[in-house]
């Protein structure tokens, strides 16, 4: 009898310990579920905000005076980028460092090769790298734009527009 009592006590302590572990685990899991549910809501709203910001930024850039076609190609057009203007902007890009608060701006024609544009090969090229900061970049947000330029020919000046993607990357500050 004297020998059995401590064993029963040990047993009870063990039981209580296991019960405590089980209770703690249970509450930890419930807590995790609550966090996940709340976090998923936050994640969704942050994705929506990110989408809106990206859309606004790309649209804003495409229609900003530095990029937009304005009325150079007939009627004023939406999401139309004047490639001639952008090529000149590219040459003076040092004046614009920090102006847009982003890390990279690139325009890619969808139908051309991946040849980077410079004043020698323009407009027979595929990528106009307008601005690039030497930092870690987040994945680019992009939208389709019409990239337009003027071409000289025997009969005068022709206007050409091609579908392109305006790609904007922000700096990864993490």
């Amino acid at each position: 009898m004297v020998k059995r009592l401590p064993k029963i006590g040990q047993m009870k302590i063990q039981q209580m310990a296991f019960m405590l572990i089980a209770v703690v685990l249970f509450f930890a899991l419930v807590g995790l579920f609550v966090i996940v549910i709340r976090f998923s809501g936050l994640k969704q709203s942050s994705v929506i905000l990110e989408e809106e910001n990206a859309m606004l930024l790309v649209t804003k850039l495409a229609n900003s005076p530095e990029f937009a076609c304005g009325s150079s190609f007939g009627d004023s057009k939406l999401s139309c980028i004047d490639a001639d203007k952008v090529m000149m902007l590219r040459e003076h890009i040092s004046d614009y460092s920090g102006f847009w608060g982003i890390a990279e701006i690139e325009i890619r024609k969808i139908s051309s090769d991946s040849k980077e544009c410079n004043l020698e090969n323009y407009p027979n090229c595929g990528i106009i790298q307008v601005y690039s900061k030497n930092v870690n970049k987040l994945p680019a947000s992009s939208n389709f734009v019409a990239l337009c330029w003027k071409e000289g020919s025997d009969r005068g000046i022709n206007e050409r527009c091609e579908v392109a993607r305006l790609m904007v990357s922000s700096e990864d500050k993490t």
Partner: protein, 160 residues
Amino acid sequence: MTKLKKGQEEIVGFALIIILVSIILLVFLSISLRSSSAMEIQSYEAEGFIQAVLQHTSECKGTSEYLSVQKLIFSEREETCSDERSAREILNLTLIELCEKGWNVGENTPIKGYEMRLLSDGTEFLSVQKGNITQNYKGAMQDFSKRGIDYGVYFKVYYD
């Protein structure tokens, strides 16, 4: 003694089951939290695509200049290009090429298919389609009119 041992074993078994289940739940939770943010298709991209396509210069040369897709749509009924091909033929080829290059459709990409429909006065006169039609899609449309005829361009991108 045997009873006590049996009880101990049961408690250990119970604890092991709890630990195992919680580990499985934690793994499941971490996977769901880390779920990859695959490329999403935004409806503004579809909208931007329509706008850009309408301004794209086609290979159809009219009387003085190469016509944009929008001008080709206006003149698809009667116009013939300088290379004797019909405006509708070039319009069709241009749209196929632009959609093909603009949207990467495939099994390993989030985009499963797309569909572009051109309407004039409510009647479809041209459509370009590729891939599968799924339940999820993002789309956009653009209306315009000329000489009393209403035109519409509808574009949908289907994804997972």
